[in-house]
Symmetry: C2
Subunit: 137 residues, 2 copies
Amino acid sequence: MGQSGADIRRKLQGAGLRPTRQRVALAELLFAKGDRHLAAEDLHGEAVSSGVPVSLATVYNTLHQFTGAGMLRILAVEGTRTYFDTNTSDHHHFYIEDEGEVIDVPVSNLKVENLPEPPEGMEVANIDVVIRLRRKR
Amino acid sequence: MGQSGADIRRKLQGAGLRPTRQRVALAELLFAKGDRHLAAEDLHGEAVSSGVPVSLATVYNTLHQFTGAGMLRILAVEGTRTYFDTNTSDHHHFYIEDEGEVIDVPVSNLKVENLPEPPEGMEVANIDVVIRLRRKR
DNA sequence: CTGTGTGCAAACTCTTTGCATAAGT
DNA sequence: ACTTATGCAAAGAGTTTGCACACAG
């Protein structure tokens, strides 16, 4: 899971992306610590904090390029922000309404059953299960 | 399902909302035709087309008021637009990536099983299952 | 009458884009 | 060298807000 710089460079090249300073740095931040979900601004903040002064526009570009390469997935949560998920396999999420925070559902033995047929000419890209939480009162 | 004007006025008053011209008209559009999912601009367009020249700001206000009153639900789909759903009970959706279109999953005998415990102090508000579709190629 | 709702336009947030400069191979 | 990526600032989309006028009770 923690990947070396060389691993990352290889991964990027495999995706047809030149391993530039910024892309390597962003990929390290994204994939070094296991599964993460974060918005562009979060990643931008982290990059700047760790001494990689990448621009926000580049962060957006990069996130979408990584998504196109199958290294990230876009999360379906309500709200204005786009969350990217480093775990591209089928798994599910808690979403905390008031904080806009996303948490992985742990060790999901959760199962979705009796999946209906998609309409003619369509196929299932993936399934998002979002369990929306609110603070107990 | 189709509700009379009187029904709608009663429903609004029950929610503490004065049954103004605009709110009644919007409620009629929303609830006359069974389950619907639409963005603010969609509803605004319909209202204007049917000769109710309500402003977009009022449509947003109204949609949020209705949501607060439990008459609508906000859908968790990715993307910049906020979709409101007239069906507030637990049910599920197809989302067509390229068109940003949302469709109800028909007669859902679909089941979500082994729901995990929410974190301490939290309770489940609701569960959204979004089956993302792409065009078969 | 009194208070709430509405409409307009401006403000805001998040995201994307165009173009000159910089970096990768 | 040649090509692709980056950064900046400006544009764009969707949504929210402030305030004067209008309407419902």
